[in-house]
């Protein structure tokens, strides 16, 4: 699956995107966050406070229980501040 990071999540992780292949038990956004947070100190820092992170799966906003699968485009970012 393709992971995208925006704003301070991108800065903390240290990259804008990456391709990942988590183990088969990673079937939800919440499980993916747990798995990603263990990938590097930067990832751990970015996901330290889960309440401040928003997610989109295939470009639609998604909640922690939303399913994820190989081939999905999954983005993590702070609450939006446009307008």
């Amino acid at each position: 699956m393709k992971i995208l990071y925006f704003a301070w999540v991108r800065q903390k992780v240290g990259r804008a995107e990456e391709a990942v292949a988590p183990p088969p038990e990673v079937t939800t956004v919440a499980a993916l966050v747990d798995w990603l947070a263990a990938q590097s100190p930067g990832h751990a820092d970015a996901f330290a406070n889960r309440r401040t992170i928003r997610c989109a799966v295939n470009q639609d906003f998604a909640t922690p229980d939303h399913p994820v699968a190989a081939g999905d485009e999954i983005a993590f970012f702070p609450p939006v501040t446009g307008g």
Binding site: F6, A7, A56, A75, P79, V80, T81, G82, G83
Partner: protein, 150 residues
């Protein structure tokens, strides 16, 4: 069908208004909102980041909601990205309808929902070199939620 654009370049309110009105005689009123970059606390510039693809989709979905709730004859939303110094326009919302209430209400709805549902992020850059990401505001959530019971 709304016109939605995300761009670095400035926009021209008069030109966009003329486009919505061109060739029509059924428009009774147009409403517009222009958001500007405000110089708070020594702000040197805002840099706006977005999620290419999702941002345009999200704005189009919000505009479709507006068109479902009010009888609009036209709707244009233009949001800028990149580095914008104080005084620069950031966002344009323009609505047209047979009657003013629909134009005014849908314009307010669009900017309220855009602020809380379209993926943009603002980074502030100050004259002394400090930088920080703008945090989401509770009052923006409150403004957006007032449209939910309707």
């Amino acid at each position: 069908m709304a016109t939605v654009r995300v761009q670095e370049a400035a926009f021209d309110l008069a030109a966009e208004s003329a486009l919505l009105a061109a060739g029509r005689t059924d428009i009774g009123g147009m409403a517009s909102f222009v958001g500007l970059c405000r110089a708070d606390d020594g702000l040197a510039a805002l840099t706006l980041e977005h999620y290419p693809g999702m941002t345009e989709r999200a704005i189009a979905a919000i505009a479709a909601q507006a068109e479902a709730r009010w009888p609009l004859t036209g709707c244009t939303v233009i949001h800028r990205v990149g580095r914008l110094p104080p005084g620069e326009p950031i966002v344009l919302v323009l609505t047209a309808s047979s009657h003013r209430a629909a134009a005014l209400e849908s314009c307010a709805f669009l900017i309220d929902w855009l602020k809380t549902r379209a993926p943009f992020w603002k980074r502030e850059e100050f004259a002394d070199g400090r930088e920080r990401w703008v945090e989401a505001k509770a009052e923006d959530d409150a403004a957006a939620s007032r449209w939910e019971a309707r």
